[in-house]
């Protein structure tokens, strides 16, 4: 039951890492790959602070073994920003005060990123339902919802301008 070698493509970069089967993905990301964006909040699959994007799905990385992700493509908050600067979602969270302490923010933004990929033009209700797996204890959610709706509008405008 020693360590085994697994391959993870994280934020576009391929890594071979050694992990015990019982090692949770969030620990591999944080401690082996030094990506401290995915946060360990509740450790019980509830809070969503550890959310990362795995092969196009929002996943709580505290509830997946690194071995399960062998071969997968993973995006963490560190991979959401572009070389030109922050992602629109990050800009809008700043603009609309979508964070206070910031602990839930990497999970919130990573989840919102996937939500907007699947539904580029959500209603407020769809945003609230779509981030129901992410808890925030500071903001009361209002400004998070505003930030996501504003980001959707920006992204749609940019898409239209590009066409």
């Amino acid at each position: 039951m020693g360590k085994q070698i697994i391959t993870l493509t994280v934020n576009g970069e391929k890594h071979e890492v050694a992990a015990e089967p019982r090692e949770l993905l969030v620990h591999t990301l944080r401690e082996t790959l030094n990506l401290r964006g995915p946060h360990v909040g509740c450790e019980t699959s509830h809070c969503g602070a550890c959310t990362v994007d795995i092969d196009g799905k929002s996943v709580k990385s505290c509830t997946m073994f690194a071995a399960q992700a062998d071969g997968a493509e993973i995006t963490t908050i560190e991979g959401i920003a572009t070389p030109d600067g922050m992602h629109v979602l990050q800009e809008m969270f700043r603009e609309h005060h979508g964070l206070q302490c910031g602990y839930c923010t990497p999970g919130m933004i990573t989840r919102a990123y996937r939500l907007l990929q699947e539904n580029p033009n959500p209603t407020e209700e769809e945003v609230r339902f779509g981030i129901a797996g992410n808890l925030c204890r500071c903001t009361g959610y209002q400004n998070i919802v505003k930030a996501i709706l504003a980001a959707a509008a920006e992204m749609n405008a940019a898409r239209e301008a590009a066409q």
């Binding site: 039951m1 019982r22 019980t44 699959s45 799905k57 929002s58 997946m64 981030i131 129901a132 797996g133």
Partner: protein, 284 residues
């Protein structure tokens, strides 16, 4: 929270998974999405020396709707159930129920097979499968057998599945009539305080047939034949509905827990069943 040590297996076929199960016996356990099992392993309430991850078995995936028959591979996720339009057309109650399970992240990982096979009375799919009169396929060392969802559940976490079997597939006839899944929960991600699955067929303004199953109100899902019978032949008015609720209350056996005392749960069960009947009837 780190589980105790285990060996990780990722077989590529049902046969290979069965071979690992056979080799390690009680020390091995299959895992679908892992969102019930991994938390239990982290709490060290489940000890699994050999963990068999089913994610790479293509035979366990996919949804097919053909000739009025719906077949769903055990590793189909709740997210896939929600986003499959053919399934939503054939059995809209599946999407309605799946949207009420857990939260978005959990639905990307959680599977229908895990939900029905785990035997947790809080899970939503077992009651729904009983309402739909679904059939479960089980693969074991001696081949395949089929069990009706209505015969599958024995007690909390106890089912008709043997330790050396894998639940591979679920099938049911596309239901006719109006359908509704209604669930009362304290918050997103919670199990039901009470939930009801209802399918009603209408003919000449009367109830021609009705199927009713309840969730998290006993140590197994409860298919209430008596509640369905109470509606048949009626106009689904308030008397018939009261009769159905009384019949259902005779079939459930809730226990007190942090979701409330027994009397409260019975009250909620009645409210939820009425709502589900009303909605199913309006769609019939």
């Amino acid at each position: 929270m780190i589980p105790s040590e285990f060996e990780y297996h990722r077989p590529g076929s049902i046969a290979a998974a069965l071979a690992v199960l056979e080799e390690h016996g009680d020390d091995a356990r299959v895992m679908a999405g892992g969102h019930s099992l991994i938390p239990m392993m982290k709490l060290r309430m489940a000890d699994v020396p050999h963990l068999i991850d089913l994610q790479s078995i293509d035979e366990l995936k996919g949804i097919s709707v053909e000739g009025g028959k719906v077949t769903i591979g055990a590793m189909t996720t709740q997210h896939e159930l929600i986003t499959n339009d053919a399934l939503a057309a054939a059995a809209p109650i599946m999407r309605e129920a799946a949207l009420l399970i857990a939260d978005p992240q959990v639905r990307y990982m959680g599977t229908i097979g895990g939900n029905v096979a785990n035997g947790d009375p809080g899970n939503d799919m077992p009651g729904l499968m009983q309402c739909l009169d679904a059939t479960f396929s089980l693969h074991g060392p001696d081949g395949t057998r089929e069990v009706q969802a209505r015969d599958f559940y024995e007690a909390a976490y106890m089912t008709d599945r043997e330790d050396d079997e894998i639940l591979t597939r679920i099938s049911f006839a596309a239901p006719k009539g109006g359908q509704a899944y209604e669930k009362q929960k304290r918050k997103i991600g919670d199990y039901a305080t009470a939930a009801a699955a209802v399918i009603i067929e209408k003919a000449s303004g009367k109830v021609a047939s009705a199927s009713i199953a309840m969730t998290n109100l006993s140590d197994t899902p409860v298919f209430s034949e008596a509640a369905g019978s109470a509606l048949v032949g009626s106009d689904c008015g308030s008397d018939a509905m009261s009769n159905a609720v009384s019949a259902m209350l005779g079939d459930i056996d809730p226990t007190e827990d942090n979701r409330g005392p027994v009397e409260f749960k019975k009250h909620v069960a009645g409210v939820i069943l009425r709502r589900a009947i009303e909605r199913a009837w309006s769609r019939a």
